[in-house]
Symmetry: D2
Subunit: 333 residues, 4 copies
């Protein structure tokens, strides 16, 4: 039986607790929040589970095996560090840390202490992303041309970061998980209008072999959009995460290039064809993710969404912020 302590009971924390409580082999033995009203909500919903106001008590409690850090990003480093130092495995909300140095330090600490560290890239466990990964692994799309994601809404403003740090970690972690290669350089542009942080931003990531990725994030959109296009040599894919039943559509459409002899020019012709929408497993990604983390801890196995995966995202976020500040300057990752 793995015993979890959860720090942070704001928007996402309750989902962590609910899932952990329903998983066989897991138990929640403490929940911590600085905020008195959050503690009231914990008590109402989770009668019998000890409630903490000081995280130090939770991370040092002897009956805790794993600490879940579900707090604002600028607190991740201190909380995760304290937990690791107390010999606890750590599950930490995305983005992993505020900067690359912090991420590297946590990774080293976990390795020294032989503890598991998982970054909460929940999307990787959804039916849609698992199905896309399967299709890419099977070569269904052929050589990839581009990855283009739009993630916009009239969202909750974060007061401690810009829209890139708030929304793009989803896309970056998904891209890193799906694509075999790493981005080489990043260009980001954007603008702030309200509270000093960019509320709209556009990221381009250059990959080897002419692959290009683009991410459009916006806190000021009147409509919610969660759409990703992936173009490949053989087929093209549209993932609309807001669709209830047909999240993924794979198109037989494409283009063929022929070298026309003697004319020194290329002919591009179009293929059109059927569309196919594979059934996507309807599971709660977070539940699968926590189950997988418990399994990794029990089997002493490194999860694929470990500290290194989290670091890679933070590295790209730092590059994007640097490019943003220089209005589109190319920043190598």
């Amino acid at each position: 039986m793995l015993k979890f302590g959860v720090i942070g009971y704001g928007y996402w924390g309750p989902n962590i607790v609910r899932n952990l409580r329903s998983l066989d082999g897991c138990q929640v033995v403490g929940i911590c929040d600085q905020n008195p009203s959050a503690r009231k909500r914990i008590e109402a919903a989770h009668l019998g589970i000890p409630v903490y106001s000081d995280y130090k008590e939770l991370v040092s409690a002897p009956d805790v095996d794993v600490v879940a850090v579900i707090t604002p990003v600028w607190t991740h480093f201190d909380l995760a560090k304290a937990a690791l130092e107390n010999g606890k495995h750590v599950f930490v909300e995305k983005p992993f840390t505020s900067n690359v140095a912090q991420a590297e330090q946590l990774i080293n600490l976990a390795e020294q202490k032989d503890l598991q560290l998982m970054v909460d890239h929940t999307f990787l466990f959804t039916g849609a992303v698992r199905k896309i990964r399967q299709l890419l692994n099977e070569g269904t799309l052929g050589k990839l041309y581009y990855y283009d994601s739009t993630r916009v809404n009239l969202g909750l403003f974060q007061h401690d970061c810009n829209v890139i740090w708030d929304l793009a970690p989803h896309d970056l972690s998904i891209m890193n998980h799906l694509l075999e290669k790493d981005a080489e350089a990043i260009v980001a542009t954007g603008q702030n209008h309200l509270n000093g942080h960019e509320d709209i931003a556009f990221i381009t990531a250059y990959f080897p072999d002419n692959m290009i990725a683009h991410i459009n994030v916006n806190w000021l959109s009147p409509v919610k959009v969660r759409t990703t296009l992936i173009g490949g040599e053989k087929k093209m894919l549209v993932w609309n995460d807001l669709e209830a039943d047909e999240k993924l559509k794979i198109y037989d459409k494409g283009v063929d290039v022929k070298n026309q002899e003697g004319l020194y020019n290329l002919l591009v012709s179009y293929r059109s064809g059927d569309m196919w929408s594979p059934q996507v497993e309807q599971v709660e990604g977070l539940r699968l993710e926590l189950e997988y983390f418990a399994e990794c801890i029990n089997k002493k196995q490194t999860p694929f969404n470990d500290g290194h995966a989290g670091l890679k995202v933070v590295r790209m976020l730092e590059a994007a912020n640097e490019s943003l500040a220089k209005r589109g300057a190319l920043v190598y990752v």
Copy 2:
């Protein structure tokens, strides 16, 4: 009665001829195309109208008052110049010219000769753009925050230009028409996969007062998208040009910022409210545009989509291409 000669009878030329033939006060007195099969199509569809294979004959024909140049962009300069030199008014397909120098030369020539020069920015005459302009002029949206357009499809590849020169002139001409201010600088990224020209590209344009614009163009998308978001302080607008009946939606949604006394921080709160979809006039933009050009010629009045409007778009396209080549470097317009 204004007498038109039309050069170019490929994809768009037939629409020009059809509209001119049905306009009171306009007449088509000659159509020219180098391509024998195009000339056959002209003869079949427009019995009785003289057909030319050599544009020089058409632009020097004494009964021609106006020449419409509906040919690939790299031919615009020579054809328009010849027409102006022969004392003909000129209607020229977008983008105006291949570069800024050509555009400036044509503008000067037209002014010297006291001839009208119109660039075919058809979208400015559609019901949707005219309604958006009216809403912006009335201040319905308040101070503008951003303009974000997606124009993607599995399109006809152009062999003489990249996707920016093919698709972005629509967005740039619309933006220039709708926004009161000019873009200050441009960042563009993109990639080519098939024929040496970029087939996917992303443009950011920085405007004064923190306004930002973004254009996503792509020849390799399996789905067709024609969507523009315009965010303002008071309201936000979504224009989906593929919708048959509800092309425009205006949202009461928005954000309010309050300076919280003593705390040195900003509170951003959300407004949500009704959505409203104004009826958009169902007219063929091209017909209105040609009618307006005839009126401008008759009244010796400069059209708003004149050579200067065309030049502004070419200047932005040049800047975008320069930034693209430097992988996102900021280029001042």
Copy 3:
């Protein structure tokens, strides 16, 4: 403090319990289910609340003020009757009873005992229906022409009733609530394919003054549809309950009829105009309904969705079944 006993913890029962537990002034003091696995789920989720296997014990428990009957329709009469006879107020799942005679008996019993009886027509408490009712009351649509609802999906088959008794009670209760007049006669057609009960059916209800209503229900549709059109003399409304944000759309479109002098015929001309999507309150209808029931009991006030409202729906269901059996024969309600 009103003390509730809940009978039935299948699909819908857990929502009743969850809402009651979070309402001020309400308390759940017992939950009953015949099914051992349901009782296990109750114990896991509601530690500390007494669990019953025999409804007789619950309806006679002295600390119970109100009984909620959330069981299959053929059990409603016996359970509600037992509760009323024990002096308990009753909240009963829709459809109210299996036939008109049962409904009348329960209404009489409740009146004799001075107890409140509410039928769970949850939809009447949703933001969408409340907004439609407001618009109709304000005369926004003018004289009504028709009400046309489609409620289809690949749904859970009920084993004890046909698709009309399963899905149409929603539409019938909404119609009765929204429209000022009662249906005069009903025509129903349909077909069974799998288990002897109709799985697809179509109901027409004739109302006074040429109003007509139509309901399309289907358990065998591959796609889920929840759309209602309401046509009026002044405006027309579309309610798509599956839309996240724009559930209601009101169209200025319509037709005008003019008597053309001397020609003895009618000219019908079309109006087209703006569309408007009012914001709809995002609340859980069931929560509002239970709150309202508690208030009705405390204030000794008859709810609008009382036994008579439930009876009216049952009367229409009986008429529909009778017409269905006679393949479309007109049945007066």
Copy 4:
């Protein structure tokens, strides 16, 4: 070379003429319309083609081989009869005639004179219907359960018939073409609100083997809908004719029925699975239809959409009207 005379140049006639003029082996040698403004439009668009005001002259013109009757339904009989009597093949707009007797008379006359008679059921020649027919012929859907079509819009009111005669011929001709069996009986309900003819109506058609069809037609809908659901034992199909690219979707979803031994009841379980959208040929149905008619005439071959196909639709329309007048009474076809 087949020489066509076309009677009627209102809404649909111009499409007939345009297509005939572009078909090899066909020629339009005369166009007739009583209306002077229609004749003006003919002259403007079809310079050189003789224009008639009196149909008698056209149907007796010696150079005419085929007469196309594109006029209101109540004129079809007289015009088609006159054409046949003059030895012309006849193409007649749907619905074929105003009643069954007229249809039978025309069929007999054509047979006596050995002339071809085609009823313009254009939809049968569209890519969508041809693909659906192919799928049904291949048994892709399995045994059919139901056919449910919605065809509503704010349409042009017909002054000489109700909404059933205006819109349902499309659905009836498609159903008759797709389904192997004939409808046995019809139930129709509806209501008139404006000009004395029903503007909203619902038709149920009972077929052998528990197949059921339903058609919802409405001239007073604020939104346009053209959606047909076809449910089968193996798969289910949705045809949305307003979709540009994905008109057909075939769902692997379905239900399985098992007889549970000893329990005397049926278990219905759900299958869910992939969705597949086959590419639909993008052709103008009318062009294919006219080409096919020319081929039938030349090969002396009876078209599948002949007078008998037209009669079958008229018979169903008559049955629907009779049921409508009796408010849903079952009428055998």
